[in-house]
């Protein structure tokens, strides 16, 4: 990530396609792996790990949505509903058949992929805002179905309790266990997406985003790839839903309502459409910023106001600051945090010898 790249001469296609363009990238990844797999979980308090866990869940979901919106250019406001499909599939399997979590995870993802592909059918005829409304309808229909069909929701409360995942004889129930559990899937999701976008499928997605008629002319089956994009994105969403269910110990339909879909859209727009790193930045930003603002307010709010006023002020100011910062960041860099990060990098690359 942070490295110099002069004098890099690639002589084969394999080298050009490599995940690591330079040897130093390998080292960066190794350092990050040690940091996230050893240093952070072993040194930080459980509270910080619980925040990290929320970030991990958001990262997987945001990556999935970015495949669809950022790479394929198909807007979707149904991401929360696809998550709920995965969650309820897994919860039902776990409670009715007692199947282990890897099976439920896969089944949840596949079921979400199937439903996602069906909801994606209108994308073959409509684009942009019209597609957004079609997927919004998908969101509402799925919400309604889960809410009313007791076979799926397990009763009028529409919530199914799920036992914690087990690894052999170990029950994963502390935040630290969950941290590792989720981190494995985050790594899989990141590597999966990175590989996907440099494969034939990923390039087809990008071609469709840039100009779908041109893509069709050069021989890309639009029908197949658009639905595939919906399916893959929904698979990620379904997996996110299953992981969320295991993280909370319950599948509840109110955790996957329209607001969640919007939050995920916000993440990828702030992070940067069509970039893997951007999805990660966006997920981190949207999850951590409110918490950071609250800490700052708690530290300084008491200087100016009475404690009762501060309590009322913190949430409201937090919302305002959150909105203002999002607008600010998007004005500074409409292409998102990923672009901002690249700018910072290229600034420091020649620093202090600018120009």
């Amino acid at each position: 990530m942070i490295h110099r790249e002069c004098g890099v001469l690639k002589t084969t296609y394999e080298a050009d396609m490599g995940l690591y363009p330079l040897p130093i990238a390998r080292w960066t990844v190794a350092v990050l792996a040690v940091l996230f797999f050893a240093v952070i979980p072993l040194t930080l308090h459980e509270y910080y790990l619980s925040v990290a866990n929320l970030v991990w869940i958001a990262v997987i979901g945001a990556l999935g949505l970015n495949i669809l919106v950022g790479f394929t250019g198909q807007v979707s406001i149904g991401h929360g509903a696809f998550m709920s499909v995965g969650a309820y599939t897994a919860a039902n399997l776990a409670n009715r058949l007692g199947s282990p979590w890897p099976v439920n995870l896969l089944a949840g993802g596949l079921m979400a992929a199937l439903i996602g592909a069906i909801v994606g059918i209108p994308s073959l005829r409509i684009k942009g805002l019209y597609l957004a409304i079609a997927t919004l309808a998908g969101q509402l229909i799925i919400e309604w179905t889960i809410n009313h069909v007791t076979f799926i929701s397990g009763g009028v409360q529409a919530s199914i309790e799920v036992a914690r995942p087990r690894l052999g004889s170990m029950v994963l129930n502390t935040q630290r266990d969950m941290y590792y559990f989720l981190l494995v899937f985050v790594v899989l999701a990141i590597v999966g997406t990175l590989n996907l976008i440099r494969s034939r499928v990923g390039r087809a997605f990008i071609a469709i985003r840039d100009q779908d008629i041109a893509a069709e002319i050069i021989g890309i089956n639009i029908f197949r790839y658009k639905l595939l994009a919906f399916a893959i994105s929904s698979f990620y969403a379904g997996v996110t839903g299953v992981l969320y269910t295991y993280f909370l110990g319950i599948a509840n339909y109110e955790q996957f309502q329209l607001g969640v879909s919007i939050d995920y859209l916000a993440m990828i727009i702030i992070g940067g459409l069509g970039s893997v790193l951007g999805s990660i930045f966006g997920a981190i930003f949207v999850t951590l910023l409110p918490i950071g603002i609250r800490y700052a307010m708690e530290a300084f709010g008491g200087i100016f106001f009475s404690p009762q006023t501060v309590l009322n002020l913190i949430p409201n100011l937090r919302l305002m600051l959150f909105g203002a910062l999002i607008i600010g960041f998007l004005i500074v860099e409409p292409e998102g945090l990923n672009r901002l990060w690249r700018n910072i990098r290229s600034y420091f690359r020649v620093w202090p010898f600018a120009y």
Binding site: Q175, E254, Q255, R294, P315
Partner: protein
């Protein structure tokens, strides 16, 4: 541009280091922490902005009188906007800050935190939220509804209708107007059972979210079904709409009862004021009005500090509920400290403290609950108040009804697992 980027980077680093610097709270010795979750900015803000100050005022009152057996109480509040991930985060932060009991706010939030509370052995309260099945203390040892659940509320409403309609419901028609979400649908099966037992005709009318359009349902209730009584179980802005619509087509307000989230001053004012809703019955799980000794003490406390009483006190329904939640937590802590005089209490001690609460009424603001290891609801007691002459007037004392039917449903939902 480059200079700007440098500034942004510097700022980010600054904020990050600041956040880590302020994250170690200093705890004075003997302090007992209550974790409070609230929604002051989300969809239920009309409740949260009044309810949570009530809780804090009660805690401040206890502290001004020397705390619980000498231990000061600290209520740490975190706002979660009625979203689940921030609720998880604030739960973990409360746990880190040493909270021995948690006031959880919101139905999805209490669902999401149930397994964590049970694993960490910290009691969490969910008055007016969550599933009615949580009243079963054996199945959910660390979840405390501490107020009448929707099942108990629906049962009490039916009983009240029976008394209003002359002591028998045989052949009568009761309409159940509900918000179409899990909480709204929860009492339907139970109402069906009571209908069979009492021989009345029950018809349900769903209001789809967001609940601002119910002209058709109301017309149906009043003119086609010709209901003898209406039980309305709505949330947010929907109760105001229901009152307005029922009034518009001339349905008598004294034949309508709203369950606990359709019963506050805000709901009545939203419908066009107390004049419009004259006659409307409202169900309460905490006392209404300003005439309670504890509220006088809070006003007294503010006066001593040279401040006017907070404006939230005027909205007595939600404010008093906040006082009730705070009071029950403090009472559970008091029981726990009494059992363990060294003051080093854990979540389990407070859980046992909750289960010892009995006949703690705070001068009538709190119902005479009797919380036991089996019954975390405390008896399912409610009061009914009527809109009369510009204010709420008490119609009944604390009562509960059809407890056998409610118990049967709790048992069945436990057996399903």
């Amino acid at each position: 541009m480059h200079r700007f980027l440098a500034i942004v980077t510097a700022l980010l680093v600054g904020v990050a280091s600041l956040a880590t610097a302020t994250s170690s709270p200093a705890q004075s010795k003997g302090e007992i922490v209550i974790g409070v979750q609230c929604d002051r900015t989300g969809p239920t803000q009309i409740v949260g902005t009044v309810l949570c100050p009530g809780l804090h005022d009660y805690v401040a009152l206890v502290n001004s009188k020397g705390g619980v057996e000498g231990h000061p109480i600290k209520a740490i509040e975190i706002d979660h906007e009625y979203k689940v991930p921030p609720a998880v985060e604030s739960y973990e932060r409360h746990k880190k800050d040493g909270a021995v009991t948690m006031a959880i706010y919101g139905t999805p939030q209490i669902y999401a935190l149930t397994s964590k509370l049970t694993e960490d052995r910290i009691p969490g309260t969910s008055p007016g939220f969550g599933s009615a099945a949580a009243a079963d203390g054996q199945r959910y040892p660390f979840i405390f509804p501490i107020a009448a659940t929707y099942w108990s509320q629906a049962a009490a409403a039916t009983d009240f209708a029976k008394k209003q309609l002359g002591g028998s419901l045989k052949g009568k028609k009761i309409a159940y107007l509900f918000y179409d979400n899990p909480a709204g649908r929860e009492p339907i099966d139970l109402l069906g059972d009571i209908a069979e037992q009492e021989g009345f005709q029950l018809k349900t009318f769903a209001v789809p979210p967001p609940g601002v359009e119910m002209g058709a349902q109301v017309l149906d209730i009043a003119q086609r079904f010709k209901a003898d009584f209406v039980i309305s179980h709505l949330f947010g802005g929907a109760p105001s709409v229901s009152i307005k619509e029922l009034k518009r087509i001339g349905y008598p307000m004294r034949k309508v009862i709203g369950l606990v989230w359709a019963s506050a001053e805000a709901n009545i004012e939203g419908a066009g004021g107390f004049g419009v809703a004259e006659g409307y019955y409202a169900m309460q799980f905490a006392g209404v009005g300003t005439d309670y000794p504890v509220l006088n003490e809070i006003r007294e406390m503010y006066k001593k500090q040279g401040k006017p009483a907070p404006k939230e006190m005027a909205s007595t329904v939600f404010y008093n509920r906040g006082v009730l939640i705070g009071a029950l937590h403090v009472e559970a802590i008091r029981n726990a400290v009494k059992a363990k005089p060294d003051g080093k209490i854990t979540g389990v001690d407070v859980k046992n403290g909750f289960e010892k609460i009995s006949n703690f009424t705070l001068g009538g603001l709190v119902p005479p609950l009797k919380i036991t290891p089996q019954d975390h609801e405390g008896g399912g007691l409610v009061q009914i108040w009527q809109v009369k002459g510009g204010k709420f007037e008490k119609s009944t004392e604390w009562f509960a009804a059809y407890q056998n039917v409610v118990a049967k449903h709790i048992k069945e939902s436990g057996a399903k697992k």
